[in-house]
């Protein structure tokens, strides 16, 4: 088996506020292997973002243990490009914070921008770019730090449907090409099936692992858009839909 990149063991987490204690996560255990794309899906407010914050080290679990082997890169729901910085300066933000701006790292970022079609837009400000391009710029800002594991927190949900399909396809290809491991939080079942090797379905709050699906699709074109044509796609969709048990 591949190297274990993330190991969660009986992780629980509680938020403390004046209103009281909120149990967000309860006894969550699973592993993420090198090169794998793991989807996390669950009802809104169940604790998905909390889980990513714990994996990234922003929060410490109340109970249980987290082990991470590698550098983490985090993609938030919106691109959060700083509107007062141009694309180039935005892409360098992480390096700047970590004080690792060198000629070499700058060259690397420059290469990423060119490779992913933003080379000519270096000097543009975020509000001059389309949603898809902004998302790509945000991805490059994350990749600039050469992370091994990417955490995507509903990273495409602010985009319109068409852009979302295109961008998730693109991000998938980029991450595969750069040989990254990814944990992808989404509320879009199709997106999860099309992008991930495994899907962890979480329950309502406090979130615990309801079921883990191994996704095996038979399709020649193993890209998110190509995969949607696979015969197993519907079955997975229906099964996860049932598991999520959505009531309106």
């Amino acid at each position: 088996m591949n190297k274990i990149m993330v190991n969660l063991k009986d992780v629980s987490f509680n938020y403390h506020t004046l209103e009281g204690e909120t149990e967000a996560l309860k006894n969550i255990s699973f592993d993420v292997y090198e090169g794998e794309f793991v989807g996390i899906i669950g009802p809104s407010g169940c604790g998905k973002s909390t889980l990513l914050s714990i994996i990234s080290g922003l929060l410490k679990p109340s109970y249980g243990s987290v082990e991470v082997n590698g550098k983490i890169g985090y993609m938030l729901q919106k691109d959060h490009l700083f509107e007062w910085r141009n694309i180039w300066q935005n892409a360098l933000l992480g390096l700047e914070i970590q004080k690792s701006l060198t000629e070499e790292s700058k060259k690397y970022v420059e290469g990423l921008l060119v490779k992913y079609g933003l080379g000519e837009f270096k000097n543009h400000y975020p509000n001059q770019l389309s949603g898809g391009m902004r998302q790509r710029a945000a991805l490059i800002r994350t990749l600039a730090l050469k992370p091994d594991i990417l955490l995507l927190d509903e990273a495409f949900s602010a985009l319109d449907y068409q852009t979302r399909l295109a961008i998730s396809d693109e991000v998938y290809k980029i991450l595969k090409y750069e040989q990254k491991t990814a944990v992808i939080v989404t509320h879009d079942i199709s997106e999860a099936i099309s992008m991930c090797n495994r899907i962890v379905v979480l329950s309502n709050r406090p979130a615990h692992v309801k079921k883990i699906y191994d996704i095996v699709l038979t399709c020649e074109d193993r890209t998110p858009i190509g995969c949607r044509k696979a015969p197993e796609f519907r079955e997975y969709f229906n099964s996860i839909w049932k598991e999520l048990d959505v009531h309106v």
């Binding site: 959060h80 700083f82 007062w84 970590q98 389309s130």
Partner: protein
């Protein structure tokens, strides 16, 4: 989707641009004409004694007053006194206000402690403190500058503090995912994101500093435009009063224009 500006402009678009331009010219011309009509009417009604020029003065007499004052050099002295007091008061108010707002952002404890004091100080009419400043600092420029500072400081703190708090938490979370320190969060995100707030605070501050300085000069002074206004009023020389008011409005307008220019320089990304 972003598109580069095309060098070729269609006929229709050129027509449109022309129309916009024509409208802008018309606005400028009307604004200018209004000013001329205003002063001309003033001059005429005063000259033909329709209103008493002793009470409302008269543009030509104001011009003469200006000449006389500038010939003996005292005009520039008075302008300089008021202007320097305003700039010092304004700069102090902005800088000290900013430092305090940053401290309050930095420490939630301090901010909670300070809150009731800020509320009370904000609603207090600062002019009431004038006599105290005079007793403490004498009748030089110090109490006047302090007056300007007192009037602008609290407003600056409160508006900057609100601005800092409005910065998107997710932006801060982003920086934290990079491992940013609190100092880095301040310098890379909070301050640049608050530039629009800072500029609008500066705009308000300029106005308030003028108010502070002129009131200060009303209360105690031996020079300055506020002094000229009070002095002119006491000896019933409305020419002097009106001239000073006119100069004051020109000065404050110039200062405002400078800030708008600064704003354009600083906020290029819009």
């Amino acid at each position: 989707m972003y598109e580069a500006a095309t060098p070729h402009i269609s006929k229709e678009h050129r027509e449109f641009l022309k129309k916009v331009k024509r409208k802008n010219v018309l606005i400028r011309v009307t604004q200018f004409a209004l000013l001329i009509v205003f002063f001309a009417t003033w001059e005429i009604v005063a000259r033909y004694k329709i209103v008493d020029p002793f009470l409302v003065s008269q543009p030509s007499r104001m011009l003469k007053t200006m000449m006389i004052l500038s010939q003996n050099g005292s005009l520039f002295m008075h302008i300089w006194v008021t202007l320097s007091e305003t700039i010092i008061g304004f700069t102090l108010g902005t800088v000290i206000g900013m430092i305090i707002a940053i401290l309050l952002w930095w420490s939630d404890f301090l901010s909670k402690v300070a809150e009731p004091y800020l509320v009370v100080l904000n609603s207090l009419p600062k002019i009431a403190l004038g006599p105290i400043f005079i007793v403490w600092m004498g009748n030089g420029e110090a109490p006047i500058i302090t007056m300007a500072l007192a009037i602008s400081l609290i407003v600056t703190i409160i508006s900057l503090q609100t601005g800092f708090k409005e910065v998107d938490d997710e932006k801060i979370k982003l920086l934290k995912t990079f491992g940013a320190t609190k100092m880095q969060i301040l310098t890379k995100c909070i301050l640049p994101a608050s530039i629009p707030t800072i500029i609008s605070a500066i705009k308000i501050n300029i106005g308030l500093s003028w108010v502070g300085v002129i009131t200060g000069e009303f209360l105690v002074s031996k020079a300055g435009l506020g002094y000229l206004i009070v002095y002119g009023g006491q000896i019933f020389k409305l020419d002097l009063v009106m001239t000073s008011v006119l100069i004051l409005s020109i000065l404050s307008a110039l200062m405002y224009i400078f800030i708008v220019y600064l704003e354009k320089k600083l906020i290029r990304w819009r």
